[in-house]
Every structure is written in C-alpha cells, then in structure tokens.
Symmetry: none
Subunit: 388 residues, 2 copies
Amino acid sequence: MKKIVLIVLDGLGDRRTLDRPTPLEAAKTPTLNFLAKNGSCGLHYPLSPGVPIGSGLAHTLLFGYSEDDYPGRGVLEAYGAGIDLQPTDLAFRVNFATSDENFRIIDRRAGRRGEFIPQMAEELQEALNNNPFGVRVILKAYENYRGVLVLRGSILHPIPDLDPQIEGEPLPFSKDEMTGRIVNWIVVQSYEFLKNHPLNKKREEMGLPPANILLLRGAGSIKQRIPFHEKHHMRGLAIADRNLYLGVASYFGMDTAKVSDEEKIPLLMERLEEYDFFFVHFKLTDVYGHDGKWEEKKRYIEYVDGLLSPLKELKDVVIVVTGDHSTPAILKNHSGDAVPLLIYGGNLDDVKRFGEHECVKGRIGIVRAADVLNLAMDAAGRMKEVGK
Amino acid sequence: MKKIVLIVLDGLGDRRTLDRPTPLEAAKTPTLNFLAKNGSCGLHYPLSPGVPIGSGLAHTLLFGYSEDDYPGRGVLEAYGAGIDLQPTDLAFRVNFATSDENFRIIDRRAGRRGEFIPQMAEELQEALNNNPFGVRVILKAYENYRGVLVLRGSILHPIPDLDPQIEGEPLPFSKDEMTGRIVNWIVVQSYEFLKNHPLNKKREEMGLPPANILLLRGAGSIKQRIPFHEKHHMRGLAIADRNLYLGVASYFGMDTAKVSDEEKIPLLMERLEEYDFFFVHFKLTDVYGHDGKWEEKKRYIEYVDGLLSPLKELKDVVIVVTGDHSTPAILKNHSGDAVPLLIYGGNLDDVKRFGEHECVKGRIGIVRAADVLNLAMDAAGRMKEVGK
C-alpha cells in the first residue's frame, strides 16, 4: 500500500477565451507535466456538470464524503479556528463589516483590513456573553475581516444568512422566533458595541472603514460522521494556511498544520513517515481567479509547480493534483466547469502535459469530485473489493 | 447574465456503419461548426447509457426536470392541444386506428392519413359525453391520425395502454375496475360510432383505411411541479411545430409559439428581448431516422444549419445545440446512444466540427440530458453556488 498526497490548487480550473488559453494551459509546469506524463489524467465535475460549488463542500467531496455530510461553512470555520463543537452548537461564518445606523451595509469586508479587529472581537465576545438568553457566545477573528461565531446552549433552528450579499441593501434580519431573536440581538449588539469603539476611531483616523457590525452566514451544526481514518483507514495530515481548509480536514478527523506556501512541501517531507495521507492546499489560484487576474493565476501555478518539484523524488507514493472547483478569471467567480485532475503512481496514459484540454484525452475520463479519493486509493492499492 | 437558446434537432444522434458516417458527420454544417469551434462540445446520454427514451421524457430532462417529474405522454399531448388539465383529469395520447369487428387492429395509424378525422372526432366527442359514468370526455384530433383524450371527473387509476402495439394482436382491454370500465367502454363506443360513419365510407371510397377506433396510451395526470421561470429564473418561449413539444414546454410553464421550420429563427429574433430562454425544436431528423432515410436526415440537418445561420450574429447569448435522443436511420427507432452536444457562449475547446465522434474529444465530456440546462446556465452566468 502506498501513501497518498493530495495537492489541491484552489479554484484551479479555468475557461479558455477566444484570445487566450487557461492559466494552467499557459503556465510552464515541468513538475506537473512530469507527474502527468508518468501518471494518468482526467477531469472532475465537483458536484455535477455545470453546478458551481463552494470550497467547503468541494473538499468534503474530495475527502470521500458525500454532499449530505457537509455541515455548512460555519462549522468548518469553527474547526479551523480550533473550536471543537458540541452537538447543539450553532456555528456561523462571520465577516466584520461596515454598516450605517440604518443597518445598511456599506462594506461587507470593512475594507478587507484587519487592523484592531482581533482585539475588538475579544471585547465584543465578553459583551455578547452578557446576554438575556443564557447562551454562551464564542467569537474569534482571523484572516483580516473574517471570523467565526458559535452559540452554545441555544434552541437550534436552521438560520438564514444575516448578510445582504449586495452592498447598499438592508440587512435581512431573521424572521424565525427563538434562535432568530438571539442572532438578531447579537447583530444589533455588535453594532451598538463597535460603532463608537475607540479602536474603530483609530481605524477611521487611519482612513480605514470601521469594522462595526458582524455579518453572519453559513449557519450549521455538526453532523454524525465517520472519522477519516476509520472510513479510509489512513491517518491524515492537512497542510494549509487558511482556516477553512484546516477546518474541513479537522472536522473529518485529520491532524492539521498551518504553514506558509513555502513550508508546505518541506513539512510533508519531514513528516512523511507519520501519516498515510497528506492533503496540501494552495489558496491563491482561487484568489487570483476571483480578482480576474489571469496572469497572476498563471504565475502562481508556476510558483507552486516549483514548490512541488521535490515530490518527483518520492517512491511508493500516489500523488494527486487537482483543484476543488474552477474559478475562471474571466468570471471572477466559481463555475461548474470540470477541473483538471492527475494521478501519479498508479496507471499511465498518453497525456504528457497537465492542462484542461489535455486532461480530456486522459484515461481517467471525467468523473466527480466524490470519485477522486477512490481513484487515488485504488492507485495506492488501498481499495477493498466490493461485492466479493 | 446571458440569454439561453436551446436548439433541439429531434432524434439527432445516429450510428456509424461500416460503409458510412452518421448523417451529422456527413452533413455540411458551417453554422454548427462555427458554434462548435467557438464553443465547447460533448455528448449526453438522455437518461443513462444505453437506455432509449421517448421525446416527452427527454425534453423533461433537457428542461432541467427529473424523471419523476414526467407526467406521461397523454398529459403533454393535452397541453400541446391547449387543454389546461385539472388535477383529477386523466389524459391519453390517441391514435385513430383501423380495427376489424373482433377488435384486432389492422392499422395502428389508419394509413397515416387524417382525412375527415377532425370532423369525426368532434362528433365522437359528443357521443362519448353521453356516457353512463358521469364523466366528461374531451377529444381532439390533430397531426393526421393523432389526438388526445381527456377524462374529467373519473375515479383515477394508473391505466395500462389500450394499444396492442403490434398489428394483428387483440386489443388489451383494461382489467382494472372503475376507470378500466370507462376506458373500455370508450374504446368500444368509438368503434360502434365510427365503424359505419359516412365519413369513413368516404375514406374507403378514396382507398383509405377507415379510422374506426381509438387507441389509447400514455395515460397520466398532472403532477406537482415548479414552473420553469420559478425553478430556473428565466422566462421561456418554446418555438415548435408539433404538439408534443409545445405541450411539454407549456406543461412546465413556458409560453409557446407554433410556427413552421422557416419561421422559427426569425420569430426568435423578433421576440429576443421578451424572454430569457428560447427552446426551438426541429422535428424531421427524428422522422427520417424512424423511416430509415439516412440521406434525407443528412439533408435536413444541412437545411436546419442554414436556418440557424443568423444566430452567429447574436451577442451575449448562450446557444446550445443537441438532440433529445438518437434515432439511428439503420435502426428506424430510438437508441440509447449518446447525443452530440455543443454549448456556445461559455467555455472553448479544441473541437472544430459538430459531429458524434468529434464531440467525444470535447471539454464537456459525456454527461446526461438532465445536466444540459445546468451547463448552459453555468455558461450564461445563471447558476447559484451550492454549499457556499
């Protein structure tokens, strides 16, 4: 049985236009081409053809779980922030945002700048715990304007997103009763507490928009799930630098390591003997896609290709390289296009270069994200025969 | 967000033989090749690989609905004939056929000739409404020997087809109790009423077989369904010349326009601003397939290719061209082969020509009919991200 290394370049897939190929097709990728040439290729539709999905769900599928196992973004963010949720907890993904006094959201990301937000979050958590509902509130801020909010001890209901999504639109307060009253209260209190906070005054002096309200979305609770090592008989280590990806791995029971891009492959090499499965995540392909930066996306792919070079030396390892979904630069958003996929260390085919269109000719064909781990485990001699 | 134009050439897919390519592969199709070259290609299995399906179900899937949403052919024919069904109505597709006095069916289509059938249908409807069951009967004839029968106010049960399918076989009367008694009575009465009808005497004088019995099949009632514009957030217009296709579009809530082949694209151009989604149907590919006419099928594809030429000028439109299923000329019947598919206005790939085998090399891969609308909507920027 071989070890498995799953490399995910977030939002890797892209679209061709009349005047240029995809970033991956244009990039110089000697490492990826080596792996493609000595492995087999294909593509995967993350959920089903044409359906764009979020990264949390996409990784749930890439880890061999089903759509039903996806607990919502809030839960994954909580695990990423190191919060081990209890079954009745309700977890939200949080943006620190800028609101006017009529709860019209002026900037959903408070200028994307995190100055003083962690300190204010800590104080706000204390204030919110002084609530009339007997609910415990956990609030953590990280990654600039992002964060997570957990309600413990509440009567739980599915909660719609308290986020207008479009700036200038009024905040959609919950119309639900009990849990709704609590989350509405929290949002109003966050504004009352933060609007005149001295650290927000400091932000304004620096020319930054105040971070004066919480936008809550992706509400969810944990679900019954089989831990990764029980389900797949592999001990897994997730290596990433963003909370969401560490969170989804941690939620399903993998160990995690938060390190920068340059440190990821050296860390993998160092800990190779300790684990059977490594998930290594690179984020910026997705960020550049969202920003419409084709050239930067291409160059980041080339940079990651260089980082991956030491993997060529590994023996008895199956290496999977793919994206979790497509984020075409021309769309600045996720799309439902099929994502390139290579598996090295199992079968071989005629594909010599890693790219969207080359992968169409590969031996794997076009599968779904939920098939990828099975294909990797089959290449690694780790699958059990069904219906024996 | 772009508008979507879905062009369906009925029964487009075909099979190669040792001595000739498919009609689509052989046809000169500059318009379709332009769209393929500047778009992306693939194929779809209508339901699943190897399973041949009918046109009503195939269009249900192409419109983004599931197999469970298909209400049966009778219901679709009723909507095509402009009958708005009530929930307890039972609708049948009808053939006017030729029977002997022992209810052996001599010609299931009464010579495929419609002379005097509409007049006889009108009189027969009146006669059938004088029934002992208190059931209202609606009978409409159209398209030569075809028609629709609706029972209103009956106690409904799923009804087997009252059609032997094979000429010379006895009529399979219903063994069910109440509804069965009614439909059996209707079939017997239709024969009693029509066998000596003066218009049938006239048909016989003209050398035509008498249209002296109703064959009933495809029984069904309407189902709960989400209208097309609510489900997909697009206002849809269906442009076709046959009842079934107008019927399936109308059943799911699209507006309809019944015009000849030549008028279809001009009408679309004229009404472009009014709708978000256009379904344009061309029938004869299927008819020629059923008749085993390879050459005529090829020439009709070339004819339609010419009609589609103005579409090349459209901006900000996603154009989908496909078939609802395959009707290989060599089979004279539907097959479960994958059907060529092109989507223009979203992604691009290496395919430069629209044909069965070229499409195998396309970026879309081989999907299902139920995926086609998602792919088109994704190309048009109309999909919502799942698991956000």
